[in-house]
């Protein structure tokens, strides 16, 4: 390898200083600290449990990242998970086979997402309001579908449930992570390496700027929300087999997903963020939570930590920015001092 590091360093350093790199560093730090402090942490058992529990949030974070990058938000994801588990559960009670029920559930998820998408993209309603509405609507339909029943994985063919809990050899990595990685790869490619994804950043920065370079704004939004529904449906399938299908499945999960995505550096204003960052955000929260739980730190502390991390992650950069600007101004003033001018202040 050629030794031109001196010339390359700026780009190299710049890459190290990106938010993603910083997040990954934080994740590594968390892992190292947890492994050092907790003897049982670094084990395949942790890997297995932690990742399996994180699957829903990891998956939901993928479309959420894209949606937030375009400046929108989807609060209905958890309810969509709910309605798809209810679909599987109630079809199971009606005597359906597992696979056909899953197909119907995926369809339900797509429809749920498309309804959001159509209202937001074509009717032009604000996504925050629409998805608050569908959050209630889809959860309501979940109740209608499954009522007071609880349908658990024991109802399904042995193969599916054991597949969910199967691990890759002795590593402890669940087989389903393969699916998560696949989905993540799809979203990473779509966002970072396709014309469509490039358009999403433009869209998130400014709708006008995107329109001028030929992004079809309504369709782009429509597809994103539909994709969000589909992914939520996959999570619903996972949920019904790993946990159970009930009316309260995934209740309140939307805020967890959004918090993790924002922690992962995706800007709520749109236009900034990466899939890797968002996934790292999810993993940071899951690891901290898991490690603290292993120490039997009460959940109360965990939610305070989650909230604080979220605030620090957005306030931090803005404080750093302000400080940097102040230093710059001070430097300028040193070279060209401001005339002592303090007259009527305020009047």
């Amino acid at each position: 390898m050629p030794e031109s590091t001196a010339a390359r360093r700026p780009a190299w350093v710049a890459r190290l200083l990106t938010r993603d790199a910083a997040l990954i560093a934080v994740l590594v730090l968390v892992l190292v600290l947890a492994s050092a402090a907790l003897p049982r942490f670094a084990s395949p058992v942790t890997v297995g449990y932690l990742l399996l529990n994180a699957v829903p949030v990891l998956l939901l974070a993928l479309p959420m990242t894209l949606i937030i990058i375009t400046g929108e938000i989807d609060l209905s994801v958890a309810s969509t998970v709910g309605i798809t588990t209810a679909t599987i559960g109630s079809l199971n009670l009606a005597g359906w086979e597992f696979l056909p029920a899953v197909l119907v559930a995926l369809l339900v998820g797509v429809i749920a997402g498309a309804v959001n998408g159509a209202l937001i993209a074509f009717v032009g309603l604000p996504s925050l309001a629409v998805t608050i509405g569908t959050l209630a609507l889809y959860r309501g339909l979940t109740l209608v579908l499954i009522g007071d029943n609880s349908v658990s994985s024991s109802q399904y063919p042995e193969g599916f449930t054991s597949l969910i809990n199967a691990k890759v050899g002795a590593t402890g990595i669940p087989i389903v992570m393969g699916f998560v990685i696949l989905a993540a790869a799809v979203f990473i490619i779509v966002l970072h390496a396709t014309p469509f994804g490039r358009g999403l950043y433009a869209l998130g920065f400014s709708k006008e700027a995107a329109t001028f370079v030929g992004v079809h704004v309504p369709w782009a939004k429509f597809w994103l929300f539909t994709a969000s529904g589909l992914v939520a449906a996959f999570v619903g399938v996972f949920w019904s087999t790993y946990y159970s299908a009930r009316s309260d499945s995934a209740n309140g999960l939307e805020l967890t997903v959004i918090a993790a995505v924002l922690l992962g550096g995706v800007s709520i204003f749109g236009g900034r963020g990466t899939v890797i960052g968002a996934l790292t955000g999810v993993l940071i929260i899951s690891n901290i939570n898991y490690a603290l739980r292993l120490q039997r730190v009460p959940d109360v502390v965990l939610i305070i930590i989650t909230g604080s991390l979220l605030i620090v992650s957005v306030v931090g950069p803005s404080v750093v920015d302000a400080a940097r600007r102040r230093i710059q101004r001070a430097r300028r003033h040193r070279t060209r001092p401001l005339a002592e001018a303090r007259g009527i202040d305020g009047a």
Binding site: D148, S244, S249, R296, D299
Partner: protein
């Protein structure tokens, strides 16, 4: 895993972990106080962990981390009877003894189930109290916890069966509603019941949150004294309503005894005194000796029925 599983015979210094449905609920706090007391008596290392809400998914990570911590006795009140099974099986594979208390998992996932009192007993007790107040006719309704709560649903099922089988009970069960063990929601459900069913004669609420919220609503409305309310309630919380006449009787057991017995059952399992088979007997400290019933079921005791006359004897069931 693999670090659990103490030696046969002695259980001194063994670890026991309690995972109730959720924390921050007075009923559960009482339960755990009994558990802690027993653990101290037995010289166990005691731990408790639970989520803040009673979701199926939120409880599982706690079971998992306790499994990983190598706890030797795992006592769980499952929020979902089947969803907890994979995690419980992992625990068992690691050598831990599994006990469910308060609500049960699928039978094959645990060694013992410590139930307050028999499902039939709970159902019968509440129906009797209702019968005493309104007789055998009229419209009645049930206000439960969450729609999928296993123990609630078991009691409701038993009540419906007993009403059908009995010749005295000619009630018309018009509705079953769910307050989700949420004070506000239960309150509004109670209110909705009275509005929808003007002729309602009585309400059964087999949950401490539900009965308190319903009593609060009744006591603040014109229905006070008109509509009978029975169910499972905490004496400390319900005394007010007994005093003001909103409620004439309600029932419960001593929650701390459930926790207490669970810890002793754990000791017996760990020491190999019992295996969970029907007919096994074990010693439970101040509670005396207990015998395992079919399907690994252990019943703590009888339903305690509270009335204005005896309520003051039970104020220890409080905090």
């Amino acid at each position: 895993g693999g670090e659990a599983g103490g030696g046969e015979g002695s259980s001194e210094g063994a670890s026991i972990s309690f995972i109730p449905k959720n924390l921050n609920n007075p009923y559960i706090t009482l339960e755990l106080s009994g558990a802690k007391e027993a653990a101290e008596e037995l010289g166990f290392t005691y731990a408790e962990a639970a989520p803040l809400d009673a979701g199926a998914d939120s409880q599982i990570p706690f079971i998992q981390t306790e499994v990983q911590n190598g706890t030797q006795i795992l006592a769980v009140s499952p929020n979902d009877p089947d969803a907890v099974c994979p995690a419980l099986e992992d625990a068992r594979a690691g050598g831990a003894k599994i006990i469910t208390f308060d609500s049960d998992s699928a039978v094959e996932c645990r060694d013992l189930f410590i139930n307050q009192t028999s499902v039939e007993g709970v159902a019968a007790g509440q129906l009797e109290q209702l019968f005493d107040q309104i007789g055998g006719t009229g419209e009645i309704a049930i206000l439960s916890a969450t729609a999928a709560a296993p123990n609630q649903n078991a009691w409701i099922e038993a009540m419906i069966q007993q009403i059908e089988e009995s010749d005295e009970y000619e009630w018309d069960l018009v509705a079953t509603v769910y307050g989700d063990d949420d004070d506000t929601k239960s309150f509004q459900e109670a209110q909705g019941l009275l509005q929808s069913y003007p002729d309602l004669a009585g309400i059964i609420s087999p949950t401490t949150v539900g009965i308190a919220a319903t009593a609060r609503y009744l006591s603040t409305s014109e229905y006070k004294g008109q509509v009978a309310l029975v169910g499972l309630g905490l004496p400390g919380q319900m005394k007010e309503y007994l005093d003001d006449g909103t409620v004439q009787a309600f029932a419960l057991w001593d929650p701390s005894e459930v926790g207490y017995l669970t810890a002793y059952a754990g000791k017996a399992l760990l020491e190999g005194t019992i295996t969970g088979a029907e007919g096994d007997t074990f010693d439970a400290g101040k509670l005396g000796s207990y015998t395992v019933g079919p399907d690994g079921l252990v019943i703590v005791g009888e339903l305690l029925k509270f009335t204005p006359e005896n309520i003051d004897e039970y104020d220890y069931i409080s905090f």
